[in-house]
């Protein structure tokens, strides 16, 4: 078609009509049991000459021993610091020579060895991932170096308002157990960690049983299956037992934690509580609920705190993606003098959503947003690998992302109110405010009991550990 020549015909008062668009389908992928205990997910995504590979290791921070908090993350980090064939620097030099990068890390649920690089180097990447995952040597000097680096990182975080807020919020929700401390470790435990702890965690937890290989990009899934089966065959197959469940702290009222930074120019705010696990059956209506509550710019909390009141540059809410009861949280950096007002407005938004079903239009906007934005989140080979990784880590069915679109369209206004009533708990929220205590405590006292902490984590005055 061509646009009409006469410009007067253009009616700017109404948004233009959309063209019809074919429904977006999640890209096809291969899912196969490759070896006993080990699955492969592989997708041919030829948009760019890139590949992204990821070996997911069973067990993450949730499996940290009680006296070795941070061990899963440290062990994962050490995988590429020395193999039977190469030293850490040799491993880095080898992959970086090709323009690629290799990373080894853990989150609360799993460990990950990942590599993204140009597709022509795929066979090298696959062999290197197998090498570091199957033959790590945990050299003493590297354990010592990473341990010191982590201690310095924990120290650095004491001057970061966002890190302080996240740490205090996690501690308020989960106490000293899993999810309650930084993934990279607790200072006291890190000081005591040594090589044998990492080597033993590795032998116990990072095994083929429960592991998954993910591959996405300009590649042939069958070729990956053929190459990787051989590379990973010698890995012990029997899985380690599942970790202890995560136990959130029980609270019967709103509790407020102020981390005192007397000179702070602004206050870093967190508000929330433990939420449902990623694979909870309410997950899709919950995502829609969160989207209209605080998951996008046009959401109730952001419009309230930013556009109506000018308290903040932006406010956001989210449910964590974790195997266990990860946090639901609202986060914002607010003008210190408006902190209590921002908390009240936020709690008000949570309660309103529990009491009144949203209008059909507001719901439709949220559903169309989540549906329409999905392809945007799938543009890179790495983002496709992440989606496949979600299927594996959270045990979601192969047709989960196809079903996701159907489930989105089935959500009703009343279902939003119901999941808000079931999963939001404004009456027992933990509130964390990092800023000048002298200005914050008087404002916040009317909302609940206030405990004050130093940036180093020491109680100031009568603070205690209870949620």
């Amino acid at each position: 078609m061509t646009a009409p020549a006469g410009r007067v015909a253009l009616d700017r008062a109404q948004p233009p009509e959309a063209r019809p668009l074919e429904r977006f389908l999640f890209p096809p992928f291969l899912h196969r049991r490759l070896l006993p205990g080990l699955d492969l997910y592989a997708a041919h995504i030829p948009r760019a000459p890139m590949v992204s590979l990821e070996l997911i290791l069973p067990h993450g921070g949730q499996s940290d021993p009680v006296d070795a908090r941070g061990l899963a993350s440290l062990t994962a980090d050490l995988l590429d610091e020395g193999s039977e064939l190469r030293s850490g620097p040799e491993i880095a030099a080898w992959v970086e020579r090709l323009g690629g990068s290799l990373s080894a890390s853990a989150d609360w649920d799993a460990g990950y060895v990942a590599c993204t690089l140009l597709a022509e180097h795929l066979p090298h990447a696959l062999a290197l991932i197998a090498e570091v995952a199957l033959t790590p040597t945990f050299p003493d000097a590297e354990v010592e170096r990473l341990r010191k680096r982590r201690l310095a990182e924990l120290m650095r975080r004491r001057s970061s308002p966002t890190a302080l807020a996240e740490q205090r919020f996690a501690r308020a929700l989960y106490g000293t157990g899993a999810y309650g401390y930084p993934l990279i470790g607790d200072e006291a435990d890190l000081r005591a960690l040594h090589r044998d702890a990492a080597a033993s965690f590795y032998r116990h937890a990072f095994r083929r049983g429960g592991a998954t290989l993910i591959a996405s990009g300009d590649l042939d899934p069958e070729d990956i299956a053929a190459r990787s089966g051989e590379l990973l065959a010698v890995w012990p197959a029997d899985p380690a037992p599942a970790p202890q469940p995560v136990e959130p702290v029980e609270r019967s009222a709103i509790t407020i934690h102020v981390v005192d930074r007397p000179q702070a120019a602004q206050t870093e705010l967190r508000l929330g509580h433990a939420g449902p696990p990623r694979n909870h059956p309410d997950r899709v209506p919950l995502s829609v609920m969160n989207s209209l509550l605080g998951g996008k710019f046009i959401s109730r909390i952001n419009l309230n705190l930013r556009e109506r009141h000018g308290y903040t540059y932006g406010a956001h809410s989210s449910f964590a993606n974790r195997l266990g009861p990860g946090p639901f949280q609202v986060s914002a950096a607010v003008a210190t003098e408006s902190t209590a007002a921002a908390v009240r407005e936020t709690l008000g938004e949570l309660r309103r959503l529990q009491q009144e079903a949203p209008a059909r239009e507001e719901l439709a906007d949220a559903v169309q947003y989540l549906e329409g934005v999905f392809p945007y989140t799938l543009q890179t080979v790495e983002s496709m690998a992440q989606r496949l990784s979600q299927l594996a880590v959270f045990g979601l069915a192969d047709d989960y992302f196809d079903r996701y679109f159907e489930l989105l369209r089935e959500v009703t206004p009343e279902a939003i109110r119901e999941v808000a009533a079931r999963h939001l708990r404004p009456e027992v929220c933990a509130v964390v405010a990092v800023g000048p205590a002298a200005a914050l405590v008087p404002q916040l006292e009317s909302l609940g009991r206030v405990a004050v902490w130093s940036p180093a984590g020491e109680p100031v005055g009568e603070a205690d550990e209870a949620g």
Partner: protein, 426 residues
């Protein structure tokens, strides 16, 4: 060797001067709409710093046919993503939409280019002034090390040069902006002949061009004010400042002026930054973080700026490292870069890293469109998107050495070391 795909790129110009770049790519049902206005903090004056950025916020407050906040509403309700950003030389506005909503993006962007002023009110300005002040607090004043980059620019460029002041502006200047400023800034800079529109994604080029003309064609061109040509006398000598901040670890920021983006030495410096600190096997990471463990982290970067370039090295000290020892070690590496050539293998590692990052970025339509707008704004040539890689391929180890010896010398260096403030007396 993998064959690298060729991207289809067209450049057009409407009668009113708006340049239109088209990059059709049907791999995903998406379209990126990206608009660069050639105006940024370089076009501000002392006393009104931060205005280009505050103005960018006002462009999301509605225009004649679009209500307050309806820009985001229209985009998000169809599953799009939108934002804008302000920098030294330019302000960009962009949305990535489901491909069938291309026309929505054109409608939204053309309405604020053509019909912004009827929607401006002092209430909106007042609200966004608070949002921006909070943005400054969040990004600068309440961030550890947050004031260091600002100070680096203040020391690197003289007071009359527009790179002297921060893009986000000083608090008092943000407070001083008026609605009259909004109007004159709009009339001066937000004109079709001072802008580049790029579309990347799933569309038919002839149709997209016709639509761009339909929505933008009737907007009148503007006065084309002269581009700034500030004087930049040589630094009188090395500068070194120490800043107290609420931090636990000290951090060194070491910067040097460079020729502007596009100059051969700019590319040499960019490649040198990647040689020096790109990856765990780079010499600075290997020496400072790995072997001697003086630093927690180290990085170097070169900014693609139009009036003058800059090269910055940033290294955070370990708790037990004296800031002076870290600085001496960093400077020694920089001196060596000017004194002897790197091995070809080091250049190849850096070039492969740049090539990989190039393709990583191009996968994302919004980044690709933004790159195209940048290349047309600065150089008038969108095909540099892929040809620019040749500028890196052509460089030799001796070119990098010459570049370091010419620009990265101790006498031309500006350093800001942030150290932990001594605890205030209780």
């Amino acid at each position: 060797m993998t064959a690298f795909p060729d991207l289809l790129i067209e450049q057009h110009q409407l009668d009113n001067g708006l340049r239109v770049v088209l990059n059709p790519d049907a791999a995903l049902p998406l379209v990126a709409v990206n608009l660069w206005y050639h105006v940024g903090s370089q076009n501000e004056v002392p006393g009104r710093t931060g205005f280009a950025h505050l103005f960018e916020h006002m462009l999301f407050q509605g225009s004649l046919h679009i209500g307050t906040n309806d820009h985001f509403r229209h985009v998000q309700q169809v599953g799009g993503v939108a934002n804008g950003s302000t920098w030294y030389d330019r302000t960009n506005y962009y949305e990535t939409l489901p491909a069938n909503h291309l026309e929505l993006g054109l409608w939204l962007e053309s309405d604020r280019m053509g019909w912004l002023l009827p929607a401006m009110t002092s209430e909106k300005l007042e609200n966004q002034r608070h949002v921006v002040m909070n943005e400054r607090l969040q990004r600068v004043d309440n961030q550890p090390y947050g004031r260091a980059y600002e100070r680096l620019d203040e020391l690197l460029f003289p007071a009359a040069h527009p790179y002297h002041w921060p893009v986000i502006g000083y608090m008092d200047d943000i407070a001083a902006a008026t609605l009259a400023d909004v109007e004159s800034f709009f009339r001066t800079w937000y004109t079709p002949d001072n802008a580049v529109l790029t579309l990347a994604g799933d569309f038919e080029p002839a149709e997209a061009l016709a639509l761009a003309d339909r929505y933008f064609g009737e907007i009148a061109p503007g006065p084309r004010p002269p581009r700034p040509r500030p004087e930049l006398p040589e630094l009188a000598g090395a500068v070194h400042e120490t800043q107290d901040d609420a931090v636990e670890l000290s951090r060194l920021h070491l910067a040097f002026r460079l020729p502007p983006y596009g100059h051969a030495d700019w590319y040499a410096a960019d490649l040198l930054a990647t040689v020096l600190t790109g990856g765990l096997s780079s010499p600075l990471y290997r020496d400072l973080v790995y072997d001697r463990q003086l630093a927690q982290d180290v990085g170097a970067f070169v900014l693609p700026t139009e009036l003058a370039g800059s090269f910055a090295l940033v290294a955070t000290a370990r708790p037990e490292t004296e800031p002076a020892a870290l600085e001496a070690a960093v400077r020694e590496h920089v001196r060596r870069a000017g004194a002897e050539p790197f091995a070809t293998a080091e250049l190849d590692r850096a070039r492969n890293r740049i090539l990989t990052h190039h393709w990583e970025g191009l996968q994302q339509l919004d980044q690709r469109a933004d790159q195209l707008s940048q290349l047309v704004t600065f150089f008038g040539d969108p095909h540099l998107l892929q040809r620019e890689l040749d500028r890196y391929r052509e460089l030799s180890a001796e070119d990098l050495q010459r570049c370091a010896a010419r620009w990265l010398t101790d006498e031309r260096s500006v350093a800001v070391t942030v150290v932990p403030a001594r605890a205030a007396a209780a």
